[in-house]
Amino acid sequence: MLRGLGGGVLIGASASLMLIVAGRVTGISGMLNGLMAPAESGERLWRILFLGGLVVGALVASRLLPGAFSDRMPSLALAFVAGVLVGVGTRIGNGCTSGHGVCGISRLSIRSLVATLTFIATGGLAVLALRGLAGLS
Protein backbone atom coordinates (compact mmCIF):
# COMPACT_ATOMS: atom_id res chain seq x y z
CA MET A 1 0.00 0.00 0.00
CA LEU A 2 2.85 2.36 0.85
CA ARG A 3 4.43 1.45 -2.47
CA GLY A 4 1.14 2.12 -4.21
CA LEU A 5 0.89 5.51 -2.56
CA GLY A 6 4.51 6.32 -3.43
CA GLY A 7 3.88 5.34 -7.05
CA GLY A 8 0.80 7.52 -7.10
CA VAL A 9 2.69 10.53 -5.72
CA LEU A 10 5.30 10.17 -8.48
CA ILE A 11 2.58 9.99 -11.12
CA GLY A 12 0.82 13.03 -9.65
CA ALA A 13 4.12 14.93 -9.56
CA SER A 14 4.74 14.02 -13.20
CA ALA A 15 1.33 15.31 -14.28
CA SER A 16 1.85 18.50 -12.24
CA LEU A 17 5.25 19.10 -13.83
CA MET A 18 3.77 18.80 -17.33
CA LEU A 19 0.95 21.15 -16.39
CA ILE A 20 3.09 23.91 -14.91
CA VAL A 21 5.71 23.78 -17.62
CA ALA A 22 3.80 22.92 -20.79
CA GLY A 23 0.19 23.53 -19.78
CA ARG A 24 -0.75 20.05 -20.93
CA VAL A 25 -2.81 17.11 -19.76
CA THR A 26 -0.61 14.09 -19.04
CA GLY A 27 -2.63 11.51 -20.93
CA ILE A 28 -0.70 8.57 -22.32
CA SER A 29 -3.29 7.55 -24.90
CA GLY A 30 -3.63 11.20 -25.92
CA MET A 31 0.14 11.44 -26.50
CA LEU A 32 0.11 8.26 -28.59
CA ASN A 33 -2.83 9.52 -30.64
CA GLY A 34 -1.13 12.89 -31.00
CA LEU A 35 1.87 11.15 -32.53
CA MET A 36 -0.37 9.47 -35.11
CA ALA A 37 -1.79 12.76 -36.37
CA PRO A 38 0.08 15.28 -38.50
CA ALA A 39 1.63 17.91 -36.23
CA GLU A 40 4.55 20.31 -36.16
CA SER A 41 7.79 18.74 -35.00
CA GLY A 42 7.84 20.52 -31.63
CA GLU A 43 4.47 19.00 -30.81
CA ARG A 44 5.92 15.59 -31.57
CA LEU A 45 9.18 15.93 -29.68
CA TRP A 46 7.77 16.41 -26.18
CA ARG A 47 5.43 13.47 -26.64
CA ILE A 48 8.22 11.20 -27.87
CA LEU A 49 10.50 12.27 -25.03
CA PHE A 50 7.79 11.77 -22.41
CA LEU A 51 7.10 8.25 -23.67
CA GLY A 52 10.83 7.55 -23.86
CA GLY A 53 11.17 8.83 -20.30
CA LEU A 54 8.40 6.47 -19.28
CA VAL A 55 10.54 3.52 -20.35
CA VAL A 56 13.72 4.97 -18.81
CA GLY A 57 12.03 5.63 -15.46
CA ALA A 58 10.48 2.17 -15.45
CA LEU A 59 13.84 0.60 -16.29
CA VAL A 60 15.63 2.37 -13.42
CA ALA A 61 12.82 1.60 -10.97
CA SER A 62 12.66 -2.05 -11.99
CA ARG A 63 16.39 -2.39 -11.28
CA LEU A 64 15.69 -1.27 -7.72
CA LEU A 65 12.49 -3.30 -7.43
CA PRO A 66 12.97 -6.58 -9.27
CA GLY A 67 9.93 -8.52 -10.40
CA ALA A 68 8.06 -5.56 -11.87
CA PHE A 69 7.84 -7.26 -15.25
CA SER A 70 7.55 -10.85 -14.13
CA ASP A 71 3.86 -11.06 -15.01
CA ARG A 72 2.61 -12.58 -18.22
CA MET A 73 -0.68 -12.26 -19.99
CA PRO A 74 -2.40 -15.61 -20.29
CA SER A 75 -2.46 -15.85 -24.07
CA LEU A 76 -1.56 -13.99 -27.23
CA ALA A 77 -5.19 -14.10 -28.42
CA LEU A 78 -6.34 -12.43 -25.21
CA ALA A 79 -3.56 -9.86 -25.50
CA PHE A 80 -4.71 -9.03 -29.03
CA VAL A 81 -8.39 -8.67 -28.11
CA ALA A 82 -7.51 -6.58 -25.04
CA GLY A 83 -5.22 -4.37 -27.11
CA VAL A 84 -7.91 -3.70 -29.72
CA LEU A 85 -10.45 -2.79 -27.03
CA VAL A 86 -8.00 -0.46 -25.27
CA GLY A 87 -7.01 1.18 -28.57
CA VAL A 88 -10.58 1.72 -29.81
CA GLY A 89 -11.93 2.64 -26.37
CA THR A 90 -9.30 5.24 -25.52
CA ARG A 91 -9.62 6.78 -28.98
CA ILE A 92 -13.38 7.27 -28.97
CA GLY A 93 -13.56 7.89 -25.21
CA ASN A 94 -10.73 10.46 -25.42
CA GLY A 95 -8.52 9.11 -22.68
CA CYS A 96 -7.33 6.38 -20.39
CA THR A 97 -6.40 5.91 -16.75
CA SER A 98 -3.93 8.82 -16.83
CA GLY A 99 -5.90 11.43 -18.76
CA HIS A 100 -9.32 10.71 -17.27
CA GLY A 101 -8.46 8.84 -14.07
CA VAL A 102 -5.68 11.10 -12.77
CA CYS A 103 -5.70 14.45 -14.60
CA GLY A 104 -9.43 14.72 -15.29
CA ILE A 105 -10.58 13.74 -11.82
CA SER A 106 -8.04 16.15 -10.30
CA ARG A 107 -9.65 18.94 -12.35
CA LEU A 108 -13.07 17.73 -11.12
CA SER A 109 -14.11 17.13 -14.73
CA ILE A 110 -17.51 15.48 -14.83
CA ARG A 111 -16.65 13.74 -18.12
CA SER A 112 -13.53 12.19 -16.66
CA LEU A 113 -15.31 11.13 -13.49
CA VAL A 114 -18.03 9.38 -15.49
CA ALA A 115 -15.44 7.81 -17.82
CA THR A 116 -13.37 6.54 -14.87
CA LEU A 117 -16.36 5.03 -13.07
CA THR A 118 -17.41 3.44 -16.37
CA PHE A 119 -14.07 1.81 -17.14
CA ILE A 120 -13.64 0.55 -13.59
CA ALA A 121 -17.14 -0.98 -13.75
CA THR A 122 -16.67 -2.68 -17.13
CA GLY A 123 -13.15 -3.74 -16.13
CA GLY A 124 -14.68 -5.42 -13.10
CA LEU A 125 -17.18 -7.20 -15.31
CA ALA A 126 -14.39 -8.35 -17.65
CA VAL A 127 -12.43 -9.82 -14.75
CA LEU A 128 -15.57 -11.51 -13.47
CA ALA A 129 -16.14 -13.02 -16.92
CA LEU A 130 -12.51 -14.18 -17.11
CA ARG A 131 -12.83 -15.84 -13.74
CA GLY A 132 -16.06 -17.52 -14.81
CA LEU A 133 -14.44 -18.86 -17.96
CA ALA A 134 -11.43 -20.11 -16.01
CA GLY A 135 -13.78 -21.83 -13.60
CA LEU A 136 -15.56 -23.63 -16.42
CA SER A 137 -12.47 -25.05 -18.07
Binding site: M1, R3, G4, G6, G7, G8, L10, I11, G12, A15, S16, L17, L19, I20, V21, A22, G23, V25, T26, I28, S29, N33, A37, P38, E40, L49, F50, G52, G53, G57, V60, S62, F69, D71, S75, L76, L78, A79, F80, G83, V84, L85, V86, G87, T90, R91, I92, C96, T97, S106, V114, A115, T118, F119, T122, G124, A126, V127, L128, L130
Partner: protein, 158 residues
Protein backbone atom coordinates in the same frame (compact mmCIF):
# COMPACT_ATOMS: atom_id res chain seq x y z
CA UNK B 1 5.54 26.21 -30.54
CA UNK B 2 8.48 27.83 -28.81
CA UNK B 3 10.85 26.40 -26.20
CA UNK B 4 10.77 23.05 -27.98
CA UNK B 5 14.04 21.82 -26.48
CA UNK B 6 13.33 22.88 -22.91
CA UNK B 7 9.80 21.48 -23.04
CA UNK B 8 11.19 18.22 -24.39
CA UNK B 9 13.76 18.01 -21.59
CA UNK B 10 11.05 18.52 -18.97
CA UNK B 11 8.86 15.93 -20.71
CA UNK B 12 11.71 13.43 -20.46
CA UNK B 13 12.03 14.05 -16.71
CA UNK B 14 8.25 13.95 -16.19
CA UNK B 15 7.99 10.76 -18.23
CA UNK B 16 10.71 9.15 -16.09
CA UNK B 17 8.86 10.07 -12.89
CA UNK B 18 5.69 8.61 -14.35
CA UNK B 19 7.39 5.39 -15.44
CA UNK B 20 9.05 4.96 -12.05
CA UNK B 21 5.67 5.59 -10.41
CA UNK B 22 4.02 2.88 -12.49
CA UNK B 23 6.67 0.34 -11.46
CA UNK B 24 6.67 1.40 -7.79
CA UNK B 25 2.88 1.24 -7.69
CA UNK B 26 2.83 -2.24 -9.22
CA UNK B 27 0.88 -1.11 -12.27
CA UNK B 28 3.20 -2.98 -14.64
CA UNK B 29 1.86 -6.23 -13.22
CA UNK B 30 -1.44 -7.24 -14.86
CA UNK B 31 -2.22 -9.41 -11.82
CA UNK B 32 -2.28 -6.26 -9.63
CA UNK B 33 -4.68 -4.53 -12.00
CA UNK B 34 -6.92 -7.56 -12.30
CA UNK B 35 -6.77 -7.95 -8.51
CA UNK B 36 -8.10 -4.41 -8.15
CA UNK B 37 -10.90 -5.09 -10.64
CA UNK B 38 -11.77 -8.40 -8.95
CA UNK B 39 -14.36 -6.88 -6.62
CA UNK B 40 -16.10 -10.12 -5.74
CA UNK B 41 -12.91 -12.14 -5.29
CA UNK B 42 -9.71 -11.44 -3.36
CA UNK B 43 -9.76 -7.68 -3.90
CA UNK B 44 -6.37 -5.93 -4.11
CA UNK B 45 -6.69 -2.25 -3.12
CA UNK B 46 -3.21 -1.18 -4.35
CA UNK B 47 -4.58 0.70 -7.36
CA UNK B 48 -6.77 2.83 -5.09
CA UNK B 49 -3.59 4.07 -3.40
CA UNK B 50 -1.85 4.67 -6.72
CA UNK B 51 -4.74 6.59 -8.25
CA UNK B 52 -5.61 8.25 -4.95
CA UNK B 53 -2.04 9.41 -4.35
CA UNK B 54 -1.78 10.77 -7.89
CA UNK B 55 -5.14 12.58 -7.68
CA UNK B 56 -4.40 14.15 -4.28
CA UNK B 57 -1.05 15.52 -5.47
CA UNK B 58 -2.40 16.71 -8.80
CA UNK B 59 -5.63 18.11 -7.32
CA UNK B 60 -3.72 20.59 -5.16
CA UNK B 61 -1.03 21.24 -7.75
CA UNK B 62 -3.70 21.98 -10.37
CA UNK B 63 -5.28 24.62 -8.14
CA UNK B 64 -1.96 26.30 -7.50
CA UNK B 65 -0.86 26.13 -11.13
CA UNK B 66 -4.09 27.48 -12.62
CA UNK B 67 -3.50 30.69 -10.70
CA UNK B 68 -0.71 31.43 -13.16
CA UNK B 69 -1.35 33.51 -16.28
CA UNK B 70 0.35 30.90 -18.44
CA UNK B 71 2.58 27.82 -18.14
CA UNK B 72 6.31 28.38 -17.64
CA UNK B 73 7.29 27.39 -21.18
CA UNK B 74 4.06 27.84 -23.14
CA UNK B 75 1.77 30.71 -24.02
CA UNK B 76 -1.40 29.11 -22.69
CA UNK B 77 -2.87 26.12 -20.93
CA UNK B 78 -4.34 23.53 -23.29
CA UNK B 79 -6.88 21.69 -21.19
CA UNK B 80 -10.17 20.02 -22.12
CA UNK B 81 -13.16 22.25 -21.43
CA UNK B 82 -16.11 20.06 -22.38
CA UNK B 83 -18.67 19.29 -19.72
CA UNK B 84 -21.31 17.39 -21.68
CA UNK B 85 -21.64 13.63 -21.47
CA UNK B 86 -22.08 11.82 -24.74
CA UNK B 87 -22.41 8.30 -26.01
CA UNK B 88 -18.87 8.27 -27.41
CA UNK B 89 -17.32 9.05 -24.05
CA UNK B 90 -19.25 6.34 -22.23
CA UNK B 91 -19.01 3.73 -24.98
CA UNK B 92 -15.27 4.40 -25.33
CA UNK B 93 -14.66 4.20 -21.60
CA UNK B 94 -16.73 1.00 -21.41
CA UNK B 95 -14.71 -0.67 -24.20
CA UNK B 96 -11.45 0.52 -22.69
CA UNK B 97 -12.47 -0.95 -19.32
CA UNK B 98 -13.17 -4.37 -20.82
CA UNK B 99 -9.76 -4.37 -22.52
CA UNK B 100 -8.11 -3.15 -19.33
CA UNK B 101 -9.68 -5.99 -17.34
CA UNK B 102 -8.92 -8.66 -19.93
CA UNK B 103 -5.31 -7.65 -20.53
CA UNK B 104 -4.47 -6.07 -17.19
CA UNK B 105 -2.79 -3.21 -19.06
CA UNK B 106 -3.69 0.37 -19.76
CA UNK B 107 -1.54 2.28 -22.29
CA UNK B 108 1.24 3.52 -19.95
CA UNK B 109 2.12 0.20 -18.32
CA UNK B 110 1.83 -1.50 -21.71
CA UNK B 111 4.59 0.76 -23.03
CA UNK B 112 6.90 0.25 -20.05
CA UNK B 113 6.27 -3.50 -20.14
CA UNK B 114 8.08 -3.72 -23.46
CA UNK B 115 11.04 -4.07 -21.08
CA UNK B 116 9.78 -7.55 -20.20
CA UNK B 117 10.40 -8.65 -23.79
CA UNK B 118 7.22 -10.69 -23.57
CA UNK B 119 5.55 -11.39 -26.92
CA UNK B 120 2.09 -10.77 -25.48
CA UNK B 121 3.03 -7.18 -24.59
CA UNK B 122 4.07 -6.48 -28.18
CA UNK B 123 0.89 -8.09 -29.52
CA UNK B 124 -1.14 -5.95 -27.11
CA UNK B 125 0.69 -2.78 -28.14
CA UNK B 126 0.41 -3.47 -31.86
CA UNK B 127 -3.31 -4.18 -31.53
CA UNK B 128 -3.80 -1.06 -29.41
CA UNK B 129 -1.92 1.31 -31.71
CA UNK B 130 -3.27 -0.23 -34.90
CA UNK B 131 -6.90 -0.12 -33.83
CA UNK B 132 -6.60 3.42 -32.49
CA UNK B 133 -4.95 4.54 -35.72
CA UNK B 134 -7.66 2.98 -37.88
CA UNK B 135 -10.50 4.48 -35.82
CA UNK B 136 -8.79 7.87 -35.86
CA UNK B 137 -8.33 7.77 -39.62
CA UNK B 138 -11.93 6.74 -40.19
CA UNK B 139 -13.16 9.55 -37.97
CA UNK B 140 -10.98 12.09 -39.74
CA UNK B 141 -12.52 11.04 -43.04
CA UNK B 142 -16.06 11.14 -41.70
CA UNK B 143 -15.58 14.62 -40.31
CA UNK B 144 -13.68 15.88 -43.36
CA UNK B 145 -16.72 17.83 -44.51
CA UNK B 146 -17.38 19.14 -41.02
CA UNK B 147 -16.31 22.23 -39.17
CA UNK B 148 -12.69 21.25 -38.64
CA UNK B 149 -11.36 19.56 -41.74
CA UNK B 150 -7.90 18.38 -40.81
CA UNK B 151 -5.50 18.34 -43.74
CA UNK B 152 -4.14 14.86 -43.75
CA UNK B 153 -1.42 13.05 -45.54
CA UNK B 154 -2.34 9.46 -45.07
CA UNK B 155 0.70 7.29 -45.15
CA UNK B 156 0.37 3.66 -46.00
CA UNK B 157 0.20 1.57 -42.87
CA UNK B 158 1.54 -1.90 -42.90
Amino acid sequence: MKNVGATGAVALVAGSLFGAGLVLGGMTMPSKVRGFLDFTGSWDPTLVFVMGGAVVVHFFAYRLIRGRAHPVLAERFQLPSRKDLDVRLILGAALFGVGWGLGGFCPGPAITSMLSGSASVFVFLAAMLGSSFLVGRREARTSAGGATPAPRTVSKSS
